[in-house]
Amino acid sequence: MPEKTLTNEELSVIFPEFSTDEIFRRSGVKTRHISADKEIASDMAVVAAEKLFLESGIPKTDIGFTLFCAEILDRTAPATACILQDRIGLPKNSGAMDIPMGCSGFMYGLLLAKSLVCSNAVDNVLLLTGECETKTIHPQDHELRMIFGDGMAATVVSKTDNNNIGDFVIGTDGSGWENLAVRGCNARELVTAEWLKENESAGGMPYGRLTMNGTEILNFTLKNVPKMVNEVLEKEKLTMDNINLVIFHQASGFMLEVLRRKMKIPKEKFFTNIQDKANTVSATIPIALRDAIDAGLTKKGDKVLLAGFGIGYSWGATIITI
């Protein structure tokens, strides 16, 4: 997580119409981490990867493939993952590829990493997932500033004798893309002098501007996430009773609570850390898993249901065994 934070107290000064309690009630967030000026997703990925290698003791030479999942990439070409191979010092005889996905990105990355390992292509995949989403949020957009933060997670998926990552349920519905998108400054909507002028007070919004239709996103989520969760349970011939912990993409506090209530998931099984970490896009699930493990909420052999959903629309879920 970047060092700089943005608290509800600070937001309440910027948006005096919202008290700190109201901000928390709307977002479920108390503190967000914010990337430094000019610090983008790949910079955070280098930090996250170095931390992983240091803490886990896994040698960099063991990595056979790197998947870098972010939507804000260094440049149109080459793939940021190639640049990361050099910056992190990963083997030259390893593969590297970008996955430009958002909220479902960790699930897609996990599926691809599992596929690479299970097909015997490689033994270890480094999966880097996260975003510097706050770069795309207009300073006056109180709704998005309350929910989103920046963060990056580094995960290694390794070959083992046990099948600890279960089957996946995935889905896509591109018809809803306009309801959650970064507009402007892309190949379809080229940056223009008008754009820069219109956004002058916001520094020109050179990374584009994230826009969200909250009601449509809520409807998409309520329609698709419970269905996906039921399907993944059926696929694994399990019921919610067999699941020790549920970790959803930390979309917003409100969304998570509505989903939990709709699916009747007991509170003690439903892990959230959005309060301190905010919505860090494709980093939320692995960071939440780490936090849950550190808090002693899972033990070896536990079944943990993971589900990501959002921008695209795109969604994916699986059940892992700790």
Partner: protein, 81 residues
Amino acid sequence: MDINELIGKLQGEFEDIPPGTLKPESKISDIEGWGSMHALIVIALADTDYGVTIKGDELRKVQSVQELYDLIIEKQKNPSE
């Protein structure tokens, strides 16, 4: 369900709106502090408690609590709409 049940549920969800404020004839736009968050709460409630999907533009056309109730009933009768 009847409209009082809906009002009771809305009242329970809208922590910031004083009890007794909501009546069938209450104009939604006149509810003090009504905003985007309340729209999300109504949509979530319609889905989780009544099994119907209300789109954002449909909710924007709803003028009163009575009309919201009628919309939910209509959608329950015609799930495809």
